[in-house]
């Protein structure tokens, strides 16, 4: 991360002196977004996913999460499933990394078994939803290459429109187009283009609130799959910061007792 901060300093300097290329400007926006979201430390969340099929039939998932910010690498997270009832107590531990594969363990409560799982399924659906694992894992600057497209307005707010191209292996996307709010440096909308370069999904993020006078978090996410007609609403019911989590809250022992 430090390398990137240094790089951004050089970019900001060179940007002042010379005209930036669209790639440099895109990277500078991503670096600034990352800088503004540093220092949150840890967070605990409760959320609810509503899965809809093309006929509109709904199914819900209740999830709790804990996350720990890790400097110079991806974050650690623990996800616990409360519903559907048959998977209650199933928990998922993830150590994300920028470019090398994430480390992931799944806890199966019926067998009391912790299973190390492959993290190569980036494009697979999370809990049968329209969110892929790569959509919900921690967003690190080095995971993408960037390109600034234009300044624009979105729902009356000033935005940067930029493209980003996944640099990690096994992504389901060739390209993402993001509408980044100029005040919050958070995405309001992201379009996902599949491996055949056709529009696959659109994500919109709503009801942003600022926490600890610094960190913007959305209250609701809407993901629509244009190819299947399915959609998923992800409602963040609560965010809690400064929980005093340590790496001990994110090991295989804590995974086994996660509830």
């Amino acid at each position: 991360m430090k390398g990137i901060i240094l790089l951004s300093g050089i970019l900001a300097f060179s940007g002042a002196a010379f005209a930036q290329t669209p790639e440099e400007k895109g990277l500078a926006i991503a670096v600034e977004a990352d800088r503004r979201d540093q220092g949150w430390g840890d967070q605990a969340t409760t959320s609810k996913m509503i899965l809809r099929n093309s006929q509109g039939a709904e199914s819900t998932r209740e999830i709790r999460g804990k996350a720990l910010e890790v400097e110079a690498d991806g974050d650690k997270s623990l996800t616990i499933f409360d519903t559907p009832r048959d998977v209650k107590g199933t928990a998922f531990l993830s150590f994300t990394h920028t470019l090398k594969p994430d480390e992931q363990w799944l806890y199966l409560p019926a067998l009391k078994r912790v299973k190390r799982i492959s993290s190569s399924n980036k494009s697979g659906p999370f809990m049968g939803s329209e969110f892929a694992y790569e959509d919900i894992s921690s967003q690190e600057v080095a995971k993408y290459k960037y390109k600034f497209i234009k300044d624009d307005k979105f729902n009356g707010r000033d935005v940067f429109v930029m493209e980003r191209y996944p640099q990690y292996k096994k992504s389901g996307y060739t390209r993402q187009v993001a509408w980044i709010d100029k005040e919050m440096y958070q995405p309001l909308k992201i379009e996902f283009y599949d491996r055949k370069k056709s529009l696959l999904k659109t994500l919109t993020q709503h009801e942003y609130k600022q926490h600890l006078n610094k960190f913007w978090r959305p209250g609701r996410l809407e993901m629509v799959n244009h190819q299947t007609g399915k959609s998923t609403t992800l409602i963040w019911k609560s965010y809690k910061f400064k929980n005093g989590f340590s790496k001990r809250d994110f090991d295989r022992n804590s995974l086994k007792r996660a509830r």
């Binding site: 048959d86 697979g124 022992n253 007792r257």
Partner: protein, 400 residues
């Protein structure tokens, strides 16, 4: 056993009274099961159709800011025909306390060790609840004191196991049993302390990059019984008595996670009844994501099962190959199908299995399980007595 339970209860109750903040919750499931055997049984006391119901509620309470946990999971099953399968158990009755770099877990619990799918050689803490399922994955609650030291160099688990649980076996009316049923009322023990023999175990486990490793040692009563020569049970029927020998087992389990490949090894050395033998399971699991332009995954599992006692082994899997194909639809219903076969490399015996499951609505789950015993001609194989026991089972579970 009673001592450990009362100790756990005492610690819990004393802590509970001090705390006024409650975060208790109930959950659990009720399962309805129907099992059909396609061939007539070897014994006239057995049937072709069996119905059964089980219930497993769970009460969980957390306090002290999540640093103390109490769990109670009773289990009960009623079986239409087999009195031995009609049984109950305390799956869990435990108190757990989290310290900065350690955890203390006291009471009746279940512990899983290992990485492989076809058999679980390393996993020796809990007794198998064999009447539940012949696959051996259902376990009886084990009373224990378990202290885990959690450090940067890994987790060191120390176990004191003060009470031994006998394996459950199908009764004379049940299927999937030995030709002579097992007389569970008259077990034989090597130790004069019988079921009160205190067992000890230690395990070190760690993750280093792509590698997950476990080393373990167990000293106590073997969970796998041998059998006596046929003897008469209380009803005057010829039966087998289980013999529980003392054993010392040293084991290693290892998994390397290399992108979509999981490479796995479990190996044990066991000293029991004046002999020493080695056994191992080794293989891989490979997952293809997003097959046929869908969200589906296909997993391929292959494992080699070995026991150096060969034909004298107490297990049927002494030189066998397991092949499995797992289809995960990744849909809203969590639909999945697992097809498998364990083939003996020295003769024609094949054990085929099918496991499929799907959620119905938000609270119900349908499971289908089928097994076929094919080409079992070796009269000395432990599978020989199952040769007529091909079955299909439907299970409908309600989760609350």
């Amino acid at each position: 056993m009673k001592k450990v339970i009362s100790l756990a209860l005492l610690i819990c109750s004393s802590s509970l009274w001090v705390n006024s903040v409650w975060s208790n919750e109930w959950s659990g499931n009720i399962n309805f099961e129907a099992k059909h055997f396609s061939n007539d049984a070897l014994s006239s006391s057995q049937f072709n159709d069996y119905a059964s119901v089980s219930i497993q509620p769970e009460w969980f309470h957390e306090w002290d800011g999540g640093k103390q946990l109490f769990t109670f999971v009773p289990f009960a099953r009623w079986d239409q025909r087999d009195d031995e399968r009609t049984h109950s158990d305390i799956r869990e009755l435990s108190w757990l306390k989290v310290f900065k770099s350690s955890e203390l877990r006291v009471g009746v619990r279940k512990v899983f060790w290992g990485v492989s799918e076809s058999q679980h050689l390393v996993d020796v803490i809990n007794q198998t609840d064999l009447v539940e399922n012949m696959d051996g994955e259902d376990k009886l609650g084990q009373p224990m004191i378990n202290y885990a030291l959690i450090q940067d160099w890994g987790t060191l688990d120390l176990f004191v196991l003060p009470y031994f649980r006998e394996r459950t076996f199908p009764g004379i009316d049940g299927r999937l049993r030995t030709t002579l049923h097992v007389d569970t009322d008259n077990p034989v023990y090597e130790s004069s302390d019988k079921e009160n023999h205190i067992d000890y175990a230690v395990r070190w486990s760690h993750s280093i990059g792509d590698w997950d490793i476990g080393l373990s040692y167990f000293d106590g009563t073997s969970r796998d019984p041998s059998f006596t020569w046929p003897a008469l049970d209380a009803d005057g029927n010829l039966s087998l008595r289980p013999i529980y020998y003392l054993m010392q087992q040293t084991a290693i389990d290892l998994q390397a996670t290399k992108e979509a490949w999981l490479w796995k090894v479990e190996a044990i050395n066991r000293r029991v009844n004046n002999e020493s033998y080695n056994a191992a399971t080794a293989g891989f699991e490979y997952t293809l994501n997003g097959v046929f332009e869908t969200a589906s995954d296909i997993g391929i599992v292959m494992e080699y099962l070995y026991d150096d006692r060969k034909a004298l082994a107490s297990t049927p899997f002494e030189d066998d190959l397991m092949l499995g194909l797992r289809w995960t639809k990744n849909d809203v219903h969590d639909t999945s199908v697992l097809l498998g076969v364990i083939a003996d490399l020295d003769d024609s015996s094949r054990l085929y299995s099918l496991e499929a499951s799907r959620r119905l609505g938000e609270s119900w789950k349908l499971n289908i399980e089928a097994r076929v015993f094919n080409g079992i001609t070796d009269t000395t194989s432990p599978l020989y007595s199952f040769r007529q026991d091909d079955f299909i089972q439907l299970e409908l579970g309600y989760y609350f």
